[in-house]
Amino acid sequence: MIQAVYIFNNQGKPRLISDYRNLDVQKSQEFLKETYNLIKTRKDNQCNFIEGSKLLGGSNTKIIYRHYATLYFVFVVDSSESELGILDLIQVLVESLDKCFENVCELDIVFKCDQVHYILNEIISGGMVLETKYGEVVHAFNEQSKIK
């Protein structure tokens, strides 16, 4: 299962937190900070997996992330998810954002934080993967935006 999805920028400022474990707000911030600290020192030519953070859940928990320009897209997952599968899923999320916002940049995500949540909700529901095709995601999102 997916335990959390974070989007934060190079300075660690949160742009989206979607935690599927019903954490309280302090814990959630703490986890975000830990994740950021683990990721920030890594270079782009390093692999996109981090294992073994005790705070986030020990050996059963993996951080899988991608870095696009100023933003990090981070998935925290347990061992039942495939590492490369999740990397593809992050790609699906980013492509969907790009299609929905037309050339997405950090500012879009800052100002349309709620919309980003709605897009993510088309891909993941309660930590379970719902859709892996960005076409479907974009279609469903656009349809719902039209509703008055």
């Binding site: 019903n22 911030q29 030519n45 996109n48 593809d88 529901s125 719902l130 859709e131 509703i147 008055k148």
Partner: protein, 727 residues
């Protein structure tokens, strides 16, 4: 009053970077009033803003009632805000959840598909045992919803429902099974995902699904779906031995034909993790090895990392396979990605053999002594303590494996161990010292021991180890081992070198070293000096050397006597006293009688030998030993006595406990006079008490204790014949 929109809020926060906290505090105040508004437009926007602030770490649990209000709005966009807020802030203890059952029921039954979807998505985050029980019937009906968009959401939600309300699994299992045949791939994906999660808890129950899953796998053209099914098979295979035979050929074919790397990796990983590969035939194993090699040398760091992860599990199953990977693992020790290096490093112990040990260790050593700039640009590996410790531990582990079985050249290993003391930025001394001692004690070969001792002398003389950085990191404590071994194996030292060694043991740098080293130095000085006096035949011409060395040592021992460490002082005094006696009473030229010196040397006799862990078992039990024999006939009485006194003691403790719980005396306020009286009494008793040092000005002059008249203390010559002691 004009309310801020979400965009206004975000703009405001960005404009007030300097006083963000106070700006947000004022916004929160506005939100608190806006959210209570009767106007749903105002309320919804306020909630939207609050949800945003929640992401930044501000609490919103207080607004749960307003969340429900917005959720029940008839406007879709507001409903959306409400459900998002609920998903983000509700937990199982949220009291308003009880109010939600009917609201969610209504939304689930809505004729607008996206409203239903909102409720399903919200429920996946906030479902509780109560909600699950109340809503399961509605959900089961919806599994046959006309829209696949809804069906997939219901299926995925079911897993969360099962977690809260396990009875639901039995109710919905037949329908769930049917969903594996759904016409829409996304529903099938959702179903497989749910079964995959369920199988992690209880794989046996899902074995009957194998034929269906098998069909889906062979016809699937969705990467995610294929990966999930392979993962599912990995969970099921250990439960059913016959499965391997059926599934392995399929895995082989897919592995060979697939162009999707993620799928190929998952097949490999699943075969290895589940142990399925144990039953694979030679060609499939060969193919797996080939694929794994491709991953480990791939340009993509992710594949290299995952490849090494899978390999480390593979060689626990087939240890012999590691030889095929030796070269590429060694290459990965130079990877640009530190986490990949660590993975490769973990694999090193498994692949070391007699012939490869030396080159591998030499390579590892080279990482420890490279210059900073030689490492890749921004990452300073030179100071990465974890990584460096990992290398050192790796070297020590692979060399000492099976009692140094893989080491063919001990001179080389002694050299490596000595060099490890010069590793910068980390403290390695504990493990290195242990091995140095261990190796030295195990050496039986005299020339090798001589080499070892020479190496220790070299270490002692090497000024580099006295540098601040090594003292600070504790690595200069290796001198403790050097001094100890020199003292212990003094008979191996060339007598001509002894003066030089003694000189090096008493240089001025010594006082910078830690107490452990200093202690070891003092004893080493004593041992080596005594040995030297014993072995040398002094005559008229060499007597000066004897005098010179002895006085030099007596003089230098002062270095230790002024140490702040009490043990160093103690030992230094002891050594100095012994030297004094020898100097006074021993005449190296005329005395044919070396008893005094031999006597002291005897104190240090006895060879240190390694003891095997099971050594005690090898000692036969003496036949005359009778453990049941009564040694002391009166012992029973004594034991009884102890028993009763112990009983008394427990009684005493019991009483003490009772006393302790008595209420404390009420402290009464003292008047000024009483205070003064008490103070005077205390001072008086202080004065009469010899354990108090009183620093009061007027008492000082009266007290002769403070007037240092050390010169007046009579010195009594201390004569004690050591010779009489040792006979």
């Amino acid at each position: 009053m004009f309310e801020k929109s979400l965009a206004d809020l975000i703009r405001g926060i960005r404009a007030n970077k300097k006083n963000e906290a106070s700006f947000i505090a004022s916004c929160l105040e506005e939100i608190t009033t806006e959210i209570k508004s009767n106007d749903i437009d105002v309320k919804a926007v306020a909630l939207q803003k609050l949800t945003y602030l929640n992401m930044m770490g501000y609490d919103m649990t207080w607004a749960s009632f307003h969340v429900v209000e917005v959720m029940s709005s008839s406007k879709f966009q507001y409903k959306r805000i409400g459900y998002l807020a609920a998903a983000q802030s509700f937990n199982k203890d949220t009291d308003v959840l009880m109010l939600c059952t009917n609201l969610i029921k209504k939304d689930l039954a809505s004729n607008k598909m996206y409203e239903t979807a909102l409720a399903l998505n919200g429920l996946s985050q906030i479902v509780t045992p109560d909600l699950a029980r109340d809503l399961i019937d509605d959900l089961l009906k919806m599994m046959n919803h006309s829209q696949p968009y809804i069906r997939k959401r219901v299926v995925v939600l079911l897993y969360k429902v099962f977690l809260q309300y396990p009875e639901a699994l039995i109710m919905s299992y037949p329908k769930l099974k049917d969903k594996l045949e759904d016409q829409h791939t996304s529903v099938v994906i959702a179903t497989v995902s749910v079964i995959c999660e369920l199988a992690t808890h209880n794989p046996r129950n899902y074995l009957p699904l194998v034929p269906q899953l098998y069909n889906i796998l062979s016809s699937s053209n969705n990467n995610w779906l294929s990966i999930k099914i392979v993962k599912l098979f990995a969970l099921l295979a250990p439960e059913e031995p016959r499965l391997a035979k059926k599934i392995l050929p399929v895995f082989g074919l897919l592995l060979e034909s697939t162009s999707a790397t993620s799928f190929a990796y998952e097949i490999l990983n699943s075969m290895i993790k589940s142990g399925l590969i144990k039953q694979a035939n030679q060609s499939l194993i060969a193919l797996s090895v080939e694929k794994l090699k491709e991953f480990i040398v791939d340009r993509d760091a992710n594949l290299r990392y995952l490849g090494l992860s899978a390999l480390s599990e593979l060689i626990t199953i087939f240890p012999q396979l590691v030889t095929a990977f030796t070269d590429i693992i060694l290459e990965r020790l130079d990877d640009i990605d530190l986490s990949i290096r660590r993975k490769a490093l973990d694999l090193v112990p498994a692949m070391v053999t007699k012939p490869t040990l030396m080159p591998i260790v030499d390579k590892l050593m080279s990482y420890l002594f490279k210059e900073e700039d030689e490492w890749f640009n921004n990452i300073n590996i030179f100071t990465d303590k974890d990584y460096r410790n990992c290398i050192v531990n790796n070297i020590l582990t692979i060399c000492s494996k099976d009692k140094y079985a893989n080491i063919t050249n001990f001179q080389w290993y002694i050299y490596i161990l000595c060099n490890l003391a010069f590793v910068e930025n980390i403290s390695v001394i504990d493990s290195v010292a242990k091995q140095l001692m261990d190796v030295c004690i195990r050496l039986r070969d005299t020339p090798l021991k001589k080499f070892f001792i020479d190496k220790m002398v070299e270490l002692l003389k090497n000024k580099a180890i006295y540098e601040k950085k090594f003292i600070k990191s504790g690595n200069s404590d290796i001198l403790y081992v050097a001094a100890y071994l020199l003292g212990e194996y003094r008979s191996t030292i060339n007598v001509d070198n002894i003066e030089d060694i003694l000189f090096n043991l008493t240089t001025n740098e010594v006082k910078e070293l830690s107490e452990i080293v200093q202690n070891s130095y003092i004893i080493a000085i004593l041992k080596i000096y005594i040995y030297w006096v014993l072995k040398s035949d002094f005559n008229e011409s060499s007597i000066d050397a004897y005098k010179q060395i002895t006085t030099m040592l007596m003089d230098k021992l002062q270095l230790f006597i002024v140490s702040s460490d009490i043990e160093v002082q103690d030992r230094a005094n002891l050594a100095l006293e012994i030297l004094n006696k020898i100097y006074e009473q021993y005449d190296p030229i005329n005395s044919t009688d070396k008893k005094l010196i031999e006597g002291i040397d005897n104190l240090f006799k006895g060879e240190l030998k390694p003891v095997a862990k099971k050594a005690q078992k090898m000692v036969p039990i003496p036949t005359e030993l009778d453990l049941d024999k009564v040694i002391n006939p009166e012992s029973q009485d004594i034991l009884n006595e102890i028993g009763t006194s112990f009983a008394d003691e427990t009684k005493y403790f019991w009483k003490a406990k009772l006393r302790a719980v008595k209420p404390k005396k009420v402290i009464k306020e003292l008047s000024k006079r009483e205070l003064e009286e008490a103070r005077r009494k205390r001072n008086q008793s202080k004065k009469n008490n010899p354990f108090y040092l009183d620093f009061d000005e007027d008492t000082k002059s009266q007290n002769s204790f403070y007037e240092a008249e050390i010169d007046n203390i009579p010195i009594v010559p201390f004569t004690y014949k050591f010779g009489t002691l040792i006979k």
